[in-house]
Symmetry: C2
């Protein structure tokens, strides 16, 4: 690989001068600048980012820790983060934590050792203290860790209420909920939103809430149980789209129809929701926008630019399709 020294000798100047034209910093005469630029072009020189990182103590790289890129919510987020980072001259290291503390800790260590300039994380086990101790810019996405950590989340409760009320308006008399793992903030908020709407209904009690893990199989099981316990259920709000699809499958399995017998609404608005038959009515999150915002905010922190707002709770909206 050609180094700055090669360029310097080719252009007949010192490495300092080459560095100056590279960074447009300090005084360089028009003449020498041209000579250096020509040498750079002739040798097809590309500065070594590693050497630069070592001195500058920053790497133009950010870390993105997600539970599992295979979960259809995250590719779109990752794409948005990567797009934005690339546009601003950064590169992104992808980490899958499976939501496990050890893995998260391990990746945090690795990322710090590689001098990443900042980290975007979607986690519910990382603590505020831990993040602060790292001393580098951080953005939490999809899950709220603390009011003190820059965060991008959505109106989970509002969305859940929207979904539940919508089912009511559609004429559903008994609306069940399939929740995510309730120790995860967003799952909890969605469950709360649901409860706020149905709490005062005569028929309501906790047994109308089935527990899922944000995955399809768990939702199929939960739906089956729910429908056995309460055959009169005519509406289901699932805490994410994957589970909503599971619910559709379960409903189908016992010979009922969606939406005629049971209307179903999901949450997330992943692209999957448009691929099913019937297409899924869902509470859509601005996933791409979230990733974009997270990346651009993180990079503003990194570059010490002024950041007006550090806590975003983005709006969600109902997208009406065929499952309701």
């Amino acid at each position: 690989m050609v180094s700055i020294k090669d360029v310097a000798s080719q252009a007949g100047v010192s490495v300092a001068t080459v560095s100056r034209v590279l960074n447009s910093k300090g005084y360089v005469s028009e003449d020498t600048r041209k000579k250096v630029e020509q040498a750079i072009a002739e040798l097809n020189y590309k500065p070594n980012e590693v050497a630069r990182s070592l001195f500058k103590k920053q790497s133009k790289t950010i870390g993105l820790i997600v539970p599992d890129i295979t979960n259809p919510y995250f590719p779109e987020l990752a794409r948005a983060v990567e797009d934005t980072a690339a546009k601003l001259g950064y590169t992104v290291i992808l980490c899958n934590s499976d939501g496990k503390t050890e893995k998260e800790q391990h990746y945090l260590d690795v990322l710090m050792q590689k001098y990443v300039d900042g980290i975007i994380v979607s986690s519910n086990t990382i603590s505020e203290r831990q993040i602060k101790s790292l001393q580098i810019p951080f953005v939490s996405i999809d899950r709220e860790i603390s009011k003190d950590i820059p965060t991008i989340v959505v109106e989970n409760k509002k969305g859940a209420k929207l979904a539940t009320q919508y089912l009511q308006n559609k004429g559903c008399m008994r609306i069940a909920h399939i929740s995510g793992p309730l120790n995860v903030v967003n799952a909890n908020e969605r469950c709360e939103g649901y409860k706020e709407v149905v709490r005062n209904e005569q028929w309501f009690n906790e047994s109308y809430i089935g527990n899922g893990h944000f995955e399809m199989d768990s939702a199929i099981e939960a739906t089956l149980e729910l429908l056995q316990l309460h055959p009169e259920i005519d509406g289901i709000f699932a805490a994410n789209d994957t589970m909503a699809i599971g619910a559709i499958k379960a409903v189908h399995k016992i010979g009922k129809r969606t939406p005629d017998d049971i209307a179903i609404v999901g949450f997330d608005g992943i692209s999957l929701s448009k691929a099913t038959t019937p297409e899924l009515t869902t509470i859509e999150q601005p996933i791409y926008e979230m990733g974009e915002k997270a990346a651009s905010m993180l990079i503003e922190f990194i570059e010490e630019k002024p950041v007006e707002k550090t806590f975003y709770r983005l709006d969600v909206g109902l997208v009406e399709r065929e499952s309701s």
Copy 2:
């Protein structure tokens, strides 16, 4: 951040000695080793990977260039690559090229500047010459570039034949194909496989092949056209699952049923194929295994370990579900 010097002075030895215990290389007495290890533990010292990279000219990082992580085929691949890389002590930088030459070139430059140790790429525009000129380990995945570049692909033609013959065996008399972009090797091979099976049928001609771009919308359109032109079609083989889902939708749209009126088979075996109603019959690729193989092979090259085989054409299999 605590550096090797801090550890050295804390332990009362030179930095060379610390480095020796860090790398278990060269002579170090049991006594000093313990002192150093204690100092490391006390200071919670983590060696700076950037400094290491600079000297060693390698970064324990690999690049993964895919067209679009949002395309449901790639998250599983990326997950496999990342899992395997992490297990072997490497980190992965994710790049989305959209299949565009400029973006690929740009990422290649960036990755080289960051001293990545190797690159895994899924591309049909990068040339063999280009790859060779980079002088670092390379693995091409999902798409064959040249017999001379380490590659992981699947039996596309065989899979396509399998799918088409299966539809024949199911009693389909007129089988259409929705192809991917034919300039992409794998799409082309799948189309060839289809043609090999139906070429000699009396009814067959090229107008039974509709052109898609591996995306749902293009497949819906293509299917609609196909069915208008040939209302007698009773089987469709789509070159990937996303398009198969599009086909299902199109069939549904004109009031026909899957599989009763028209049987549909896809290709890929993405997790999406299990989420639809009806669930998709498809030619399943060992996606995770491909990513795993690509990463472990790449790292074998990087670490200059012996590699027995550099060209893998993995087997595919028919997974029979409800759409056929």
